[in-house]
C-alpha cells in the first residue's frame, strides 16, 4: 500500500501523489517514512525532501522549515518555503546566509527561542548553499 504524500506551502499545494517512501529533514535528524508509520507530528529543519517511487528516487525538494504530520496512510509536509532542488541558486543562498548572519548579530542572546531560531536560520542557509553549489 502506498503512502499519500502531500507537499504544501502557505501559498499553494505543490505536490500530492502516492509514493513508496519519503525521507524528511526532521529537526532532530532525517526521518524515513514508509506506509504504516506511527502517527507523529514533527518540526522540520532546512534540508531535502527525498521522494522514492517505483523503486527509484525522483526530483527532490528543498524546504527551509516547517512541519510534517505523519499517519499510517499519509505524510503531509507543511513547508514554510519549498523549492525544487534544481531551482536552487547559489547567489540566493549566499544572500540568505548573509542575512541570517546579520540577524544573528542582532538577536537577543538571552532569549533562548530567538537564539535557536537565528541559529536554525544560519544552518538552513548553509545547507541551501551546499546543495546549490553541489
Amino acid at each position: 500500500m502506498p503512502l499519500a504524500l502531500e507537499l504544501i506551502s502557505p501559498e499553494r499545494l505543490l505536490l500530492a501523489k502516492p509514493v513508496e517512501m519519503v525521507v524528511i529533514p526532521a529537526a532532530e535528524g532525517e526521518l524515513g517514512v514508509l506506509p504504516g508509520h506511527a502517527p507523529m507530528i514533527v518540526a522540520l529543519k532546512g534540508g531535502l525532501i527525498r521522494i522514492f517511487e517505483h523503486g527509484q528516487e525522483t526530483a527532490p525538494f528543498f524546504v527551509t522549515s516547517g512541519f510534517a504530520e505523519i499517519t499510517p496512510e499519509r505524510c503531509s509536509i507543511l513547508a514554510t518555503e519549498a523549492i525544487a532542488r534544481e531551482a536552487l541558486k547559489k547567489s540566493e543562498a549566499e544572500a540568505r546566509l548573509a542575512a541570517a548572519k546579520n540577524a544573528w548579530e542582532a538577536v537577543d542572546k538571552n532569549d533562548p527561542f530567538a537564539r535557536d531560531q537565528a541559529m536554525a536560520a544560519i544552518a538552513t542557509a548553509e545547507t541551501m548553499l551546499r546543495l546549490a553549489a553541489g
Binding site: P10, E11, R12, L13, A26, E28, A38, A43, F67, E69
Partner: protein
C-alpha cells in the same frame, strides 16, 4: 430651463463616466479571478495547520509556561485592533464597513474601561480612522503599488504583532476584515488572534483522534507553529480582503 446644448453636454458626461466605470468593472473581474485562485490555493495549508494546532494546543494550554501567542498575557486590559482595508476607493461600502466596525468595537471596549490601540493594513483604513485614533496607531502597513500579496507580507505583519506582544504592548488582539462570501457579497468580521482560539476539529465522522508522537516535545513544536499559524490567518485575511475588494467594484 435646460436647453439643447446643456442636455448634450450632460449626455456626453454621463457617457464618459460610464466608460470609466465599465472599464474598472472589467479590470476588477479579471483581478477577482486571480484573487479567488490565490484564495483556493492557500486553503490546504491553512486547513492542515489548523489541524496540527488542534492536535497540539490542548496538551499545552493548561501549562503555566504556555507560549504567550497561545494564551495571551492572561490579562484583558489593552486591546489591539488590526483593520484590513483596501489601498484604493471606489469600491462601494467596502472600506467604510471595516472602518465603522473598528469604530464601534473601539467605543464598546473603551466603555468597558479598556485601552484600545489600532493597527491598519491598507491605506484607506488609516485615512478613515486617522482622526479617531490620533497618536495611538500601533503600526500601519500599506501595500500601495503592489500587484499581488505574498505570504512573506503576511509573515512580516505577524512578526510585528508578535514583537508588540513580547514587549507587553497589548493583551488581546483582534483582526477585522471583509470576508469573501461570494463574488457579490462580503461580510465584515472580527477574528480573535491572540489569545489564539484553538480550532475546533470537525468531530462528526472523524472517529477517534489519532494519538500522535511529537518531536521535538509539544511546547517547542507549538512555539514554532503558533507564529506560522498567526501568519496564515493574516495571509488569509489579506487575500480574502483583496478578492472582496475586486468583488465590490
Amino acid at each position: 430651463m435646460a436647453n439643447l446644448k446643456a442636455l448634450r453636454i450632460r449626455i456626453n458626461s454621463v457617457r464618459s463616466t460610464q466608460k470609466i466605470t465599465s472599464a474598472m468593472k472589467l479590470v476588477a473581474a479579471s483581478k477577482l479571478r486571480r484573487a479567488q485562485a490565490q484564495m483556493e490555493a492557500a486553503r490546504p495549508y491553512a486547513e492542515r495547520l489548523a489541524h496540527l494546532l488542534a492536535a497540539l494546543a490542548p496538551q499545552v494550554a493548561s501549562s503555566p509556561t504556555a507560549p504567550a501567542l497561545l494564551v495571551g498575557t492572561r490579562q484583558d486590559r489593552t486591546h489591539l485592533l488590526v483593520a484590513v482595508t483596501a489601498e484604493r476607493g471606489l469600491a462601494g461600502a467596502f472600506n467604510a464597513n471595516v472602518g465603522r466596525t473598528v469604530r464601534q468595537l473601539k467605543a464598546r471596549l473603551e466603555a468597558e474601561g479598556k485601552v484600545v490601540k489600532v493597527a491598519t493594513i491598507g491605506r484607506k483604513g488609516r485615512d478613515f480612522l486617522r482622526r479617531d485614533v490620533a497618536g495611538r496607531f500601533a503600526f500601519e502597513v500599506s501595500f500601495a503599488g503592489k500587484k499581488q500579496i505574498t505570504f512573506e507580507d503576511a509573515h512580516a505583519i505577524s512578526e510585528r504583532i508578535g514583537a508588540l506582544l513580547a514587549a507587553g504592548e497589548f493583551d488581546v488582539c483582534t483582526l477585522i476584515y471583509n470576508r469573501f462570501v461570494s463574488v457579490i457579497s462580503q461580510q465584515t468580521i472580527e477574528v480573535p488572534l491572540i489569545p489564539t482560539p484553538i480550532p475546533a476539529e470537525a468531530a462528526a465522522g472523524s472517529g477517534p483522534r489519532a494519538v500522535y508522537e511529537f518531536e521535538p516535545e509539544e511546547e517547542t513544536l507549538l512555539a514554532a507553529l503558533l507564529p506560522q499559524y498567526l501568519a496564515t490567518q493574516i495571509y488569509r485575511a489579506l487575500i480574502e480582503s483583496a478578492a472582496g475588494e475586486q468583488g465590490a467594484r
